[in-house]
Symmetry: C2
Subunit: 257 residues, 2 copies
Amino acid sequence: MKMKISRREILGAGTVAGCAAIGGALLKGANVAAASPSAAAVPWTWKKMDPAEIQERAYQSAWEKIGCMYGACESILGTLADRYGAPYNTFPVDATVYGSGGIGGIGSVCGTVNASGLLFNLFVKNQNDLFALCSEMSLWYEKASLPVYRPKKPKVDIEIVRSVAGSNLCHISSTKWANASGYKVLTNEHFERCNRLVADAAAEIVRMLNEYDAGNMAFKQKLNDFSQQCLSCHGPGNTTANVASGMTCNPCHENPH
Amino acid sequence: MKMKISRREILGAGTVAGCAAIGGALLKGANVAAASPSAAAVPWTWKKMDPAEIQERAYQSAWEKIGCMYGACESILGTLADRYGAPYNTFPVDATVYGSGGIGGIGSVCGTVNASGLLFNLFVKNQNDLFALCSEMSLWYEKASLPVYRPKKPKVDIEIVRSVAGSNLCHISSTKWANASGYKVLTNEHFERCNRLVADAAAEIVRMLNEYDAGNMAFKQKLNDFSQQCLSCHGPGNTTANVASGMTCNPCHENPH
């Protein structure tokens, strides 16, 4: 543990709504929908779909390129493109392969969380909603026991152990699963786990966009108590205010108090 | 420090070339350039430009939406769109605002590293190159003392202290700078620092794409010795093989050996 926390007092706990507010503050005055002169304009119209219907496509697309961000984006944008054409078919979805393995294999943010941000940004109407949805998806990813999806045509037809990532980072998520399952990383079993998880994440993104578009999005996720305590001093607007984060703190930070 | 490392022996040190190979393995058999039936095809043609010429635009665009990923993408794609039109003007660049604050304010990967992945993916010809460039950019970001850029028309006209992030994560990078400068996070001074950094990162992306496109890309970055030791057991193909990461380990992990 190298991060030093410089004040010892723990004040009242923050909320994940606070994190969404942080997000909003970051984009104060910005208008997500305003197109730059040279860019195709967003938001695009969201079209309701059954979350379950895109899951096999997400899984198969993820296998096609070992692309977690790609699988989530291709299954959703590709389904919309097949049904409705433009603007959905104008997006260069192959340019989302880079999200694999936490951005080009460097183990940073999971490609499904990255995909969710891009997809929300294509469809939601303002920056507060965008940031709140990103936070909700990230905390869902951190806390869910995954993968749940069982492919219709599995590439690796075995039982896949579930694990809880506890973090939105690819390398932490994958290590947790490797340790839980006994399989090594970057094996076919590992890819099978990740690609089933892509199907779960893609369904969650669709579920959230359906709810959001219908005007009844229910935000349910909260940072855990440990992290809320950290941010009650270190978060923006508080005593120390040297940390801007909506990630769960305890996978990497101990409580020094 | 919660991550347990389960074997004590330290073997020979790995290399960042190994990380690129990991990236390549992740995408074995994939073809980045192959468009799905419904998607605009990549790669697009890269057009050489002077890294310095897009920096003020990157800085100003980043301020426009407090968008780090957006500022990097808009300055490069927008410049290409202004000069050459399609396909560069078909990309919905406003949909990259989500990368702000480590994806919707959650403090994960810095939006400039996220932008670099997307931009490389739009222009490079195969997955090995894509992953190697992502790794190079991430390590550049982790190690560089930033920001260097001095805006022509600064929004906050003060001296900005430089700091070394040591990580590609937004919240670590921002906290390092906040502690070095004494400014609180999510203040105008913090945004000034981040938006100057966007100009530095955008120039680095252009420099790399110029070199890559000319066929003389020189990969210079290496993981530090500490991280290479970790991966010499825990990395793919090694004894334990439970970690797939090209991020520097020591910001979050101590050496338990």
